[in-house]
Structures are given as structure tokens and as C-alpha cells.
């Protein structure tokens, strides 16, 4: 049987591993040997579950989107990760990792961020636990996600601009890794997605798996069946997608769809749709699908959404793509913006531009009337107000 879980060596099929310089080995090895034991400790679980409930506000609702369903002639449910404290799924992971970091005796936290959601979620749990927090963020992203930069500062985090490369998520990740190399002893690096060296992809997937754990009983309650016909999520690194897929991976009757950011279009050179234009390669500690030149140089990605503007995907998604367990769709900036605006008007929900990429799949794939489609609404669009208003102005100039 194909397994979609990570193996002993940190691989999902041909993808994964821990391609890290020796300087990071002790930290990553400490995590690798201890993460499962710590996560499984009853005291860890008790604290984690309590905080997910009382602090994050879980379970997040599973909402039957009636008007959206009518429009697309199918049954659309939205998993409302946007209603979590801090406004996205990211906090599920940062909470898990900070509890783990505490048990490892770490004093300082670093993180990278693209949209700023992971940075905010990290700054938030650092405030909660009284730990020092540094967040690296690409200079371009600092500009396009200003509200989140303000939130991080208010929460007491230090935001350091990443000035190299495309000055987006990839470069922020490089800087965070450099910081970790230079401060290996009492610092924990909270990676924000199912990327990075083993055990990060598996660890982050476990913390996000609460999404599909809840979906199972919520669907049972609302539809009579635990299984939907299809689950759709956008994929930057792929953490909330993995969270939504997690408990359904072995249920092959449930179709899994990842929506990738096509930017201006997959053949324009201005895109971040890794499964369409990437090849196997190594970046940020794992072997995965990667946008690169023939010479193996990483290609600068582009997407309107900072959270999807990344030249790779988590190794588990590369494996899901390889084994055809999941289908991937490329969604352009324009398609995503239209889908996001549509949700505003049909359901009174302003989604994050990232999440809007998942919504756009409804226009690309015809689902049957009685099919149950769950879209993982990863975050809210408050941070994207400027982007939306620009789009609104473009559409209705007067």
C-alpha cells in the first residue's frame, strides 16, 4: 500500500530528508529525536487542547455556504480557519511548536513570514508564553501586508526585513535559517508550513491535523457521513492543506485538491505554481518540487498573495502529486481576486487572498449537485484590504 506518512528517514516517497548544513544538525536532530515523545505526552496534549479551545477558539465552524452552493450547483462547506484567533490556521502550528520549544528549554523564538499571518501567529504565542520573538519578512511583503507588520510590533516581536533575492518568503526563510545557524543553543525556529528539514513537515502536519479531525465529526453531524467527496485547499508550503487532508489521506474515495498560485499565468514566468513548473530539487532543507533553472538556481516566484509566493511546496505535497493522490490546480491572480470578491458578496465573508485561490477551483471543476465539497478557508482578508480595494476600483472605476 502507498503510504502518505513520513518514513524513518524523513522521506515521503522520493521527497523530504534533512539537507541541512552541519551547523543546524544538533538542533534538528534534537527535534527529530524528541518531537513525537513530547507531542504524545499527556501534559502536552492537555495544555495544547485547552489552548486550542479557549485561546484559539476551536473547533472552527464548518459552515454550509448556501448561496455559494446554489451558484455552483453543489454542496459547498467552508472550514472556517479564518475565525481562529489571529485570523488564520497558522496559530494551530505556532501554539504546538511553542509548547514544544518550552519543553526543549528554548528561550528565544524566530520565524519567517510571507503574508505575515505566520509572523503574527508566532508573535502572539510568544507574547502568551513570555518568549522573545524575531520575525524575518521580505521587504516586498512588509510593504504589501502592512497591517500584519503593525500587529507583530504591537505584540512585541522584532520584525527584520529580508533584503536579498526577491525579498519575499523564500528570502525571509533564508535569513531565519542564517539566524538559527548563528544562535543554535537556546533558539527554536518555528517554521510556518510543512516545509524545511525532517521532522518539520511531519511535525507541522500533526499540529494542523486538528482541522481534519474536526471536519470528520462536523461532517458526520451535518451530512451524516464523515467523508466529503472532495477537499480543496490552497497550497503555499501546504500546511493547512495538509491539516485538512491529514485524516483523509488513506481514504482514497475522498478527492484531494490543492490550489496553487499561478500568478499572471503558468507560462508567463510570473508564477508560483510549483507542481506545474517545478522539478525535484533541494531548498530549505528538503528535497521537493522546486521552481528552478536548468543550472539548479531557484527561480524567483510571483503571486499576488504573499502567503503563496514561494518557489517550492512541502515534500508531502510533492509526494501526493507524484502518486496522484491529490490533484493540483493553477489559479491566477485574477481568478483568485474574482473568487475572493464573490465570497464577500455571496456569503459576507472576506477571505484572505491565499484562501481565495482555493475558492476559485469552483469555477474550474464541475462538481455534482449532491457532492459534498469542503473548502478550507485558511484565513481572513483583513490584511488584504488594500489589494481588494484596488481590485474593486479597477472593476468599478467610478
Amino acid at each position: 500500500m502507498t503510504t502518505y506518512q513520513v518514513n524513518e528517514r524523513g522521506y515521503y516517497g522520493n521527497f523530504g530528508g534533512a539537507f541541512i548544513p552541519e551547523m543546524l544538525y544538533p538542533n534538528v536532530e534534537e527535534l527529530r529525536t524528541r518531537y513525537l515523545d513530547i507531542i504524545e505526552e499527556p501534559s502536552f496534549q492537555e495544555e495544547f487542547q485547552q489552548l486550542l479551545k479557549d485561546y484559539v477558539g476551536r473547533p472552527s465552524p464548518l459552515y454550509f455556504a448556501k448561496r455559494l452552493s446554489e451558484k455552483y450547483g453543489t454542496k459547498v462547506y467552508l472550514k472556517r480557519e479564518d475565525l481562529n484567533h489571529t485570523g488564520a490556521h497558522k496559530v494551530n502550528n505556532t501554539l504546538g511548536q511553542i509548547l514544544l520549544a518550552k519543553r526543549l528549554g528554548k528561550k528565544n523564538i524566530i520565524a519567517e513570514t510571507g503574508a505575515g499571518q505566520h509572523g503574527v501567529a508566532t508573535a502572539t504565542v510568544c507574547a502568551l508564553m513570555g518568549m522573545d520573538c524575531i520575525v524575518y519578512m521580505g521587504e516586498v511583503d512588509i510593504e504589501r501586508q502592512k497591517p500584519n507588520v503593525g500587529r507583530m510590533k504591537l505584540l512585541g516581536a522584532k520584525v527584520i526585513p529580508a533584503m536579498s533575492g526577491s525579498r519575499t518568503l523564500k528570502d525571509a526563510t533564508n535569513e531565519a535559517m542564517r539566524h538559527w545557524i548563528s544562535n543554535p543553543v537556546d533558539t527554536h525556529y518555528i517554521i510556518g508550513s510543512v516545509v524545511g528539514p525532517h521532522p518539520y513537515p511531519d511535525m507541522v502536519a500533526r499540529f494542523q491535523s486538528v482541522i481534519s479531525e474536526e471536519m470528520k465529526w462536523q461532517l458526520k453531524e451535518q451530512t451524516g457521513k464523515e467523508d466529503p467527496d472532495c477537499i480543496i485547499a490552497c497550497v503555499g508550503g501546504g500546511s493547512h492543506a495538509m491539516g485538512a487532508f491529514y485524516h483523509y489521506l488513506d481514504r482514497e474515495q475522498v478527492r484531494l485538491i490543492g490550489a496553487e498560485a499561478a500568478g499572471l499565468g503558468i507560462s508567463t514566468g510570473e508564477s508560483a505554481a510549483t507542481t506545474f513548473i517545478g522539478r525535484a530539487g533541494v531548498l530549505h532543507g528538503s528535497k521537493t518540487l522546486l521552481m528552478q533553472t536548468e543550472d539548479g538556481q531557484v527561480v524567483e516566484p510571483y503571486s499576488i498573495s504573499a502567503g503563496l509566493d514561494y518557489p517550492g511546496i512541502g515534500p508531502v505535497h510533492a509526494h501526493l502529486h507524484d502518486t496522484k493522490r491529490a490533484d493540483f490546480f493553477a489559479v491566477t491572480d485574477m481568478e483568485a481576486m474574482a473568487a475572493g470578491m464573490e465570497l464577500c458578496r455571496l456569503e459576507g465573508i472576506i477571505p484572505a487572498v491565499e484562501s481565495a485561490h482555493a475558492l476559485a477551483v469552483l469555477k474550474k471543476e464541475q462538481f455534482k449537485e449532491n457532492e459534498v465539497v469542503v473548502i478550507n478557508l485558511s484565513g481572513r482578508g483583513d490584511k488584504d484590504l488594500e489589494t481588494y480595494l484596488r481590485e474593486l476600483k479597477r472593476k468599478t472605476p467610478h
Binding site: 539537507f19 536579498s164 542564517r178 548563528s182 536548468e294 539548479g296
Partner: protein, 266 residues
């Protein structure tokens, strides 16, 4: 034992002949100008460097500080690639006889193909490799045989955080030399060595490793070079050299002056 038989190449021969004050210089290929690669190598040998690490530029060099990052970017913007580097190095052994190593992040090499890469390196007369993000387990399992067959020493890194048992394992997995990363840092730091660094070097000396050691990261001038030589067979200079040639209008002269400033014994 993994490495009973020592690879016979210019690196192992160098350390047999010279146990002290080995000066190894890192330079990014295709920097400062695309066509400067071989000229820099020749000038370095002439100036008295004992060994050269040729950096294969990469878009995302996570273990490197600003200076080497910037040189990687300049080289890539110049049009440097691994394929082109091999073309440039064709025939280099007619002109340069000191040990040459290729240093690079793993992705460009995997895209070239590890086996093809090693064979091509051997044909050109490369003696060793430094691939910082190739995990030791993967090296031992998949690539060691190929590298050994091509006479390439795979140089492994040890840091202040590396455990004693792991240092032993590294010492057993490699030949040539061990690259002692001088502190918890990326490349490019300057300044004097701290007491903690010195006690780390002493701890390594006390382990009596079978491989010689070179200290790298943060070696920037004669003073830090001499301190390093006190604790190891020599040292590696990267960023300080890159800064020297970055805006040079007289490469040969500046390289000669730089090497002279470090290695007064020459």
C-alpha cells in the same frame, strides 16, 4: 572501517608534506568578472596560497553571510553556471598544481547529476568537495563510493555544537581534512577569537583525530590566521578575500598583496 585506504590526491599529499600553516582560500567562481575564475586561481597559486576552494554560485546560500551571498549573486548575474565552470576549468591542471576543491550547495549538483559531476571533477583534476548541505547519511549511503572512485575527498564540517561521538563518526567518514567551523556563525564575521573558541579548538586537539583540521569562518587577517594555525594545520579565508577582489582594478597585484599580508612566512 569506512576509509581504510586514504585517497591519494593533492590534498592528502599536501598534508603529508606540510603539517602547519596551510592557507586555503575560498573564491566564488565567475567573480568578480565571469572570466576571472582561472586568473584568480593562477594568481593565488603564484602568491603562495596552499589550496583553493572554488565556490559554485547558488541563488540561496543559507550558510553564507552578506559578502559571499553578494559574490554569488554577482557571479550568477555574470552568467556563471556549473556547466560553464567546468568549461572554464578545462586544462587548469596545466597551469595550477595546488589542491583544488569545489564547494557548493547541493541543488545545482543534483541537477547536473552527482555521478556526472564527480567524473567531470576528476577529469579536470579536482581533489575534493565541500557540500555543506549534503547530509552525512546520504553521502555515506549514496555518494561516497562514487566520490572515492573519482579520487575526491569529501570534506565534512565540525562546529562548536558537534558532539564528540559525531566528530568521531565524521573523522571516520572522510579523508583530506576536517573543516572546523570556528564559531556558531555564518561566513563573514570578523574580529578576534574568543576564549570559548579557543577551548573548542583545544577540545578538538585533545581528540587526536586521524584527519588534519583547517579552521574556517571568521578568519580575516594575519592575526586570526596565526591564531587558527596555532590550533590547527591551517585555516580557510573566504569573505575577506572576496572583499579584496570585489572592486579590484589590479587582480594579480591585489591577490599577491592579500596573500602576503596573511602569510608572512612566504
Amino acid at each position: 572501517m569506512l576509509t581504510e585506504r586514504k585517497t591519494d590526491n593533492r590534498i592528502t599529499r599536501l598534508f603529508e608534506a606540510q603539517k602547519k600553516d596551510v592557507l586555503s582560500i575560498y573564491v566564488t567562481a565567475g567573480f568578480p568578472k565571469l572570466e576571472d575564475t582561472c586568473r584568480v586561481l593562477e594568481a593565488l597559486e603564484k602568491a603562495g596560497a596552499d589550496m583553493i576552494e572554488i565556490g559554485i554560485p547558488f541563488s540561496d546560500p543559507v550558510a553564507d553571510g552578506e559578502t559571499i551571498q553578494a559574490s554569488n549573486k554577482v557571479a550568477l548575474d555574470n552568467g556563471m553556471s556549473l556547466k560553464l565552470l567546468f568549461e572554464q576549468l578545462e586544462g587548469i591542471r596545466k597551469r595550477v598544481s595546488i589542491p583544488l576543491l569545489l564547494m557548493g550547495y547541493i541543488n545545482p549538483i543534483l541537477q547536473y547529476g552527482m555521478e556526472a559531476f564527480c567524473k567531470r571533477a576528476q577529469e579536470i583534476g579536482i581533489d575534493g568537495l565541500i557540500l555543506p548541505d549534503l547530509p552525512i547519511v546520504e553521502y555515506r549511503e549514496f555518494y561516497k563510493e562514487t566520490m572515492d572512485a573519482c579520487g575526491l575527498s569529501n570534506i565534512l564540517l565540525v562546529t562548536p555544537q558537534t558532539s564528540e561521538s559525531r566528530i568521531r563518526m565524521i573523522d571516520d567518514s572522510t579523508d583530506g581534512f576536517i573543516y572546523l567551523v570556528s564559531s556558531n556563525a555564518i561566513t563573514g564575521k570578523t574580529g578576534e577569537m574568543s576564549a570559548a573558541q579557543k577551548s573548542y579548538f583545544e577540545r578538538i586537539i585533545a581528540m587526536k583525530l586521524k584527519n588534519p583540521t583547517l579552521i574556517g569562518f571568521g578568519i580575516s587577517d594575519a592575526k586570526t590566521f596565526n591564531t587558527a594555525c596555532h590550533y590547527a594545520s591551517g585555516a580557510i579565508i573566504g569573505s575577506a578575500f572576496i572583499r579584496t577582489i570585489a572592486n579590484s582594478t589590479d587582480l594579480d597585484g591585489d591577490i599577491a598583496a592579500f596573500v602576503r599580508s596573511i602569510n608572512k612566512k612566504q
